[in-house]
């Protein structure tokens, strides 16, 4: 089955509006956040309209319904990523998920498998989003562990030539992105995971840019922890997922403490509920979880493989057209080999912010700047880039609009 993007666009109310005095909306910023289908918007508002109550509390029908919806969403997430249901923790964002695991490790006492001290190593990569870099910098600073990283090649790939020395016997954590939000590069996990496990380290995967776009099966990948956000996967904001292997979640100390996450409490201490509750203190973002459930159901109905094929075809089309423009330099892989649908580029002397502004005047939404990956920008030798990121509702017509917008901008700023 091929994907009918024009039919899909009809599911997304936002495509009915126009931009900047009647222009057709060309939305090429799904890497920042995706648009939402009607079914997600309804699931979120229906929760408030019909079922609103605090989950896991209250002896009344609404509380039961709310709990069913919330736990149902957890099951949908688990099925979507090939996990067991109790391994899925709801957070408010992927950023919180990554902070959760980093802070929880920092809380691990001596004797706990996650305890870090001077002499231990944390490994990241140069292509991390700030959300998967700063929590580890901070954890290293708090524990005395050292931070090292895989560099990025000029082609925008991870340099794994030093794999065995960068991940070594002292490494306790390897945290990396599945797909770069700037370069579009999809990282080769197999050899990294194999090496990490060889030395007894855990692998934390930032899957924000992969889970919405391709089949990600945590069991097949054999990773240990994973984070992704709802809002990049046609779901609501305010909901993220933290996944961990059951045995590891059992040993990982909590991050946020309070209501719902306990087993027993006295005036001097407390014991923890088993995962996932141990990591979900307080009344959670229930309507947003309902929305995320609807979002993943929506993606599953279309088929994540179909979405991926559609994006590969579209990215390939756009890469070819962009490559043909003089003075346009793609920052990242120029072929479709292990590459997703985020394309960053610079364009002659036109600063990305100015290009983005011009494109906006044509109804074209792109991201400009350093994309929360400042070290990567420095490494690639650019101050900022313009990024077009594609999703299931994009069409060749959108790509063509971007191309002519770029050429028009060249004429506009040359005046």
């Amino acid at each position: 089955m091929t994907l009918d993007a024009l039919a899909i666009r009809k599911d997304f109310p936002i495509f009915q509006r126009t931009i900047r005095d009647g222009k057709r909306l060309v939305y090429l910023d799904s890497g920042a956040t995706s648009q939402k289908p009607e079914s997600v918007i309804s699931a979120e508002s229906d929760f408030y309209r019909l079922h609103n109550a605090a989950v896991h509390r209250g002896a009344h029908q609404l509380a039961e319904e709310a709990t069913d919806i919330y736990e149902g969403a957890r099951q949908i997430v688990a099925d979507f990523i090939g996990a067991q249901v109790d391994e899925v923790v709801f957070t408010k964002s992927a950023t919180e998920s990554l902070n959760l695991v980093a802070y929880a490790m920092g809380n691990a006492p001596v004797g706990n498998r996650f305890h870090l001290r001077a002499g231990d190593g944390i490994v990241v990569t140069e292509m991390e989003h700030h959300a998967n870099l700063i929590p580890w910098q901070q954890l290293a600073a708090r524990t005395g562990a050292s931070l090292s990283w895989f560099e990025v090649t000029p082609e925008g790939r991870l340099d794994l030539s030093q794999l065995d020395s960068i991940i070594n016997e002292s490494t306790k954590v390897v945290a990396l992105t599945h797909q770069s939000n700037v370069l579009g590069t999809i990282n080769p996990l197999d050899e990294i995971v194999k090496r990490a496990h060889e030395v007894g380290a855990v692998v934390v995967l930032d899957a924000c840019q992969s889970v919405p776009h391709m089949k990600v099966d945590v069991t097949a990948l054999d990773i240990d922890f994973m984070a992704f956000s709802g809002h990049k996967a046609v779901g609501p904001t305010g909901i993220g997922v933290f996944w961990g292997k059951a045995a590891l979640l059992a040993d990982l100390p909590p991050f946020l403490t309070g209501g719902s996450m306990i087993e027993t409490v006295t005036m001097t201490g407390a014991t923890w509920a088993p995962a996932p509750k141990k990591f979900e203190a307080g009344v959670p973002n229930m309507a947003q979880a309902a929305g995320l459930g609807a979002a993943l159901q929506y993606l599953s109905t279309i088929g994540i493989e179909n979405i991926h094929r559609h994006e590969v075809a579209l990215t390939s089309y756009l890469l070819e057209k962009l490559s043909a423009i003089d003075e346009l330099a793609i920052v990242g892989p120029k072929t479709m080999d292990a590459r997703g649908g985020s394309i960053s580029f610079t364009f002659g002397d036109i600063h990305p912010h100015d290009l983005g502004q011009f494109l906006d005047s044509q109804g074209i939404a792109v991201r400009t700047g350093h994309h929360c990956a400042w070290p990567l920008n420095r490494k690639m030798g650019v101050v900022a880039t313009t990024r077009a990121s594609l999703y299931l509702y994009n069409t060749e017509e959108d790509c063509d609009a971007l191309i002519s917008g770029i050429l028009d901008a060249q004429r506009y700023f040359a005046r």
């Binding site: 900047r20 600063h351 990305p352 912010h353 100015d354 502004q357 011009f358 005047s361 400009t368 700047g369 350093h370 400042w374 920008n377 101050v383 900022a384 506009y412 700023f413 005046r415």
Partner: protein, 149 residues
């Protein structure tokens, strides 16, 4: 395109292509480095004072046409003014930026800087336009307090 033309006025593109005072001096009374964390634009700006007068504003930086042109225009406009005048002009420029298009700006006072009035209709760009001005404010306060010591 009219609103966009209003943003990218000829004067702005001219200053972007030929920035004024973009040549950092080594003997400034104060020098500051400001960034716009949302887009990565950076400016390093130095100020020299002669008594109460701004005798030099010089800078280096990378950024979009709005941030570069605005810094260039500001450095031209405020050089030779007294600190009090420079602050008053800066305040008027800030007001113009925050006006959402409701005021045009006094050309007698703001000179080329009125060309940036179109920025006030693009909330995301106001920080770009203010980058150099905020750097000047910071540097001039530092230079002034150094002089008083």
């Amino acid at each position: 395109m009219m609103q966009l033309d209003n943003l990218y006025q000829e004067v702005i593109l001219d200053h972007y292509k030929n920035p004024q005072n973009k040549n950092l001096a080594s003997d400034n009374d104060a020098q500051v480095h400001h960034v716009n964390p949302s887009c990565g634009d950076e400016v390093t700006l130095g100020v020299k004072l002669q008594g109460d007068k701004v005798s030099s504003i010089n800078w280096e930086g990378v950024g979009c046409s709005i941030s570069q042109a605005s810094t260039s225009i500001m450095s031209d406009l405020l050089t030779g003014k007294s600190l009090a005048e420079a602050n008053s002009i800066s305040d008027q420029f800030l007001q113009l930026m925050q006006s959402k298009g409701s005021i045009e700006g006094d050309e007698e006072i703001l000179e080329d800087a009125v060309a940036l009035s179109g920025v006030s209709k693009y909330p995301a760009r106001i920080k770009c336009a203010l980058l150099g001005w905020m750097a000047f404010k910071d540097a001039s306060v530092q230079a002034h307090s150094k002089e008083e010591k």
